[in-house]
Symmetry: C2
């Protein structure tokens, strides 16, 4: 089933119905890009879209473009394009601000909802291995609120069950772990949280566009996520936010800027939230970066998450099998779960010299990234990664390890960004 | 002194030492753009810069550009370019997030500082006519904190003196009013606030690049502002934030994302703020929109705020004089102060049919904007606005008013954005 020669990999590429989508991306020559889980590759259409915003919409349209170029409705329009990828409905998602800022909004909203329902619940449960910025934001909010709000961090998903108690306001989890690539069971954990009276906040940074997500079906309460990883929105492109319709109008989130106001141009001195998810908008958005998000989402419109998931699992299965077959004599430990149901769209291995190994790979054009401690991480984006890419990447890894070339690769600067 | 013929205006343009700077901007044909206080015009260099970020830095550099293209240091680098325009020092300003989000950060920091110093102080004093989003953000924060935090709004600057009392934590003001164009005395009001034990938060949205600002010299505590108005950073380009050095390390602001962490790539589960103003960074920034901010700031590097202020006052004096001389028989009321020390870089008139008048002007290529109630607003950007532009704009206004053409200009959609 799994390819064991490069020729078989090329054959898989030829048979791959998703292969034509690769042409929608501009990938640099001489690079095998396995870091789309940090920054997605550039859709070819993005250059023209940026030029259109800068030259026509800004340069020619000027302030008129708020209406004529649809700037005012862009966060909602992009949200509607993104919604099917995460199992959300129409008018349930907005694209705006950063993941960190959006997490602050939904976490504050969730705590407020609990404050009204069940004020003794003041604990946010999360994983110690959650993406750090999520923990930092929760810490910042708890510190701001004082009044006994705090975090309870567990060391493994197995401990979540015991940690969600009658003092728990929110279970805040990242669906796919940035470091290990482990995927959590959103439906089961949401059910567990609800059974204990807690609300759920899901970070989909490594899920949206990477694995099928069923926000509505799983009963989740709040979600945030990133558009610049698997969604290929561009460097630092604005993030997204989803709130379960039943909770949306319960509370106006504290970052209550003009764009979330019911009558944003009436210039009223008092805040009145818009109805729906648009109340989670805050200030004016960076239009050039925001507009390019559409170029990535448009490519997803040509396929579906089931097809992408099938290929993603083929790619990660193949990578694991080839590394173990061809580099098995080196001290590599698979960190990512083998079980499909628990695996995102990345593969991580631990290696005692992980940082140096990754630097040597990058020097040779195989771009993954490194995460403390000792983890080399490879993201597989089925939109533009092929089976022969996997073969070639493993060959370079084998060469780096066999030759000891990484021993020379000692750099001080670390490139790692989420 | 003031020109009274078009020929005299043309002569002023020929003598204007700032005139060559106009060539740095791409302005559409057939338009007199007097709305740079809502969205600044496009520097010609911005198109190439956007293309560079999208095609080279994103497309070719991919994740490596965090180091190789200087993304990681960009908020600080742009902050250092901006600092001289607002009287701030090196490493005191960052360009990041939105004005609304930044206001939340500094307001939360100011309240926390007061909470430690003088916990009974729980009132934020501001003007009812402040830009609404500023009030909304303060309301959102007060509502989040509960514990008796509240706003006290005054109806005119004269009432500030009486409103700042021993219960006052923060005096939060916008330096130049978005609607009237009135400029407040930052040094005097800061002194007043400090004498009463209050801290000051200044919104420089309509000041930065428009009038000289002396943050350090005036003793101000916190400031935020906008880069897409007079600084010509592009639609929704990220905002800026300044904190007085003495206060900077006093508190970690609650939007404590990864970029403000002391060791952002160590992936520690606990937040530790960076030292300096960089702790006010939060999440990943929209690089294409952020990078273009430099194109606007670079143009300011070719002149100085004193020269710009002198021309700005000439332009607004001329506009007021010509409107009063040539349109004086219409029901126009000057809203902007005549006194130079109290005037920003815009002129506002009230007219009973203000909305329709502005629509008719825009149809004829004179782009200003409308603000409730009845105010037509004209921003003057000395970098690209000339004296003959002022003459021509007034002629179009006169024609619109004399002919009653505006009576036909009834649109439902309102274009107004900040």
């Amino acid at each position: 089933m799994t390819a064991t020669t490069r020729e078989q990999c090329l054959s898989l590429d030829r048979q791959d119905p998703l292969r034509p989508l690769r042409d929608a991306f501009a990938l640099p020559d001489g690079v095998i890009y396995l870091d789309g889980n940090s920054l997605g590759a550039r859709p070819r259409a993005a250059a023209a879209r940026a030029a259109q915003v800068v030259e026509q919409e800004w340069g020619e349209g000027l302030i008129r473009s708020w209406n004529t170029a649809g700037w005012f409705e862009l966060p909602q329009r992009l949200g509607n394009l993104l919604a099917p990828l995460v199992g959300a409905g129409e008018d349930e998602v907005v694209v705006t601000d950063t993941t960190s800022v959006n997490l602050f909004k939904v976490l504050a909203a969730a705590l407020r909802v609990q404050g009204l329902r069940s004020p003794a619940r003041r604990v946010i449960v999360s994983e110690r291995s959650n993406f750090p910025t999520d923990l930092y934001i929760a810490q910042g909010l708890a510190d701001l609120l004082q009044q006994g709000y705090s975090l309870r961090l567990v060391d493994s998903p197995d401990e979540i069950d015991a940690a969600v108690r009658d003092d728990t306001a929110v279970l805040m989890l990242t669906h796919v772990n940035y470091k290990t690539g482990e995927m959590l069971d959103m439906a089961a954990l949401t059910e567990l949280a609800h059974a204990r009276g807690a609300l759920t906040v899901w970070d989909l940074a490594h899920s949206a566009g990477a694995v099928p997500v069923a926000l509505r079906e799983s009963g989740a309460d709040y979600a945030v996520g990133c558009t610049y990883k698997y969604l290929n929105g561009g460097p630092g492109s604005p993030a997204f936010l989803w709130v379960a319709p039943a909770l949306r109008d319960a509370f106006w989130q504290p970052l209550s800027g003009w764009w979330g106001h019911a009558a944003p141009f009436a210039m009223e001195p008092d805040y009145r939230p818009r109805s729906g998810v648009s109340r989670f908008l805050c200030g004016t958005q960076p239009m050039t970066s925001l507009a390019m998000v559409e170029c990535g989402l448009e490519i997803f419109g040509r396929t579906d998450m089931q097809a992408l998931r099938a290929k993603s699992l083929q790619l990660t299965d193949l990578f694991i099998a080839l590394v173990e077959a061809r580099c098995g004599h080196h001290p590599l430990t698979l960190v990512t779960p083998r079980e499909h149901a628990r695996r995102g769209s990345q593969v991580s291995f631990a290696h005692p010299q992980g940082y140096a190994v990754m630097q040597a790979l990058i020097e040779r054009g195989v771009i993954g990234d490194y995460r403390e401690p000792r983890i080399i991480r490879f993201g597989f984006t089925p939109l533009y990664t092929g089976f022969a890419d996997v073969w070639d990447a493993v060959e370079v890894l084998r060469d780096v390890l066999d030759s000891g070339a990484y021993e020379a690769a000692r750099f001080q600067t670390r490139t790692a960004v989420t």
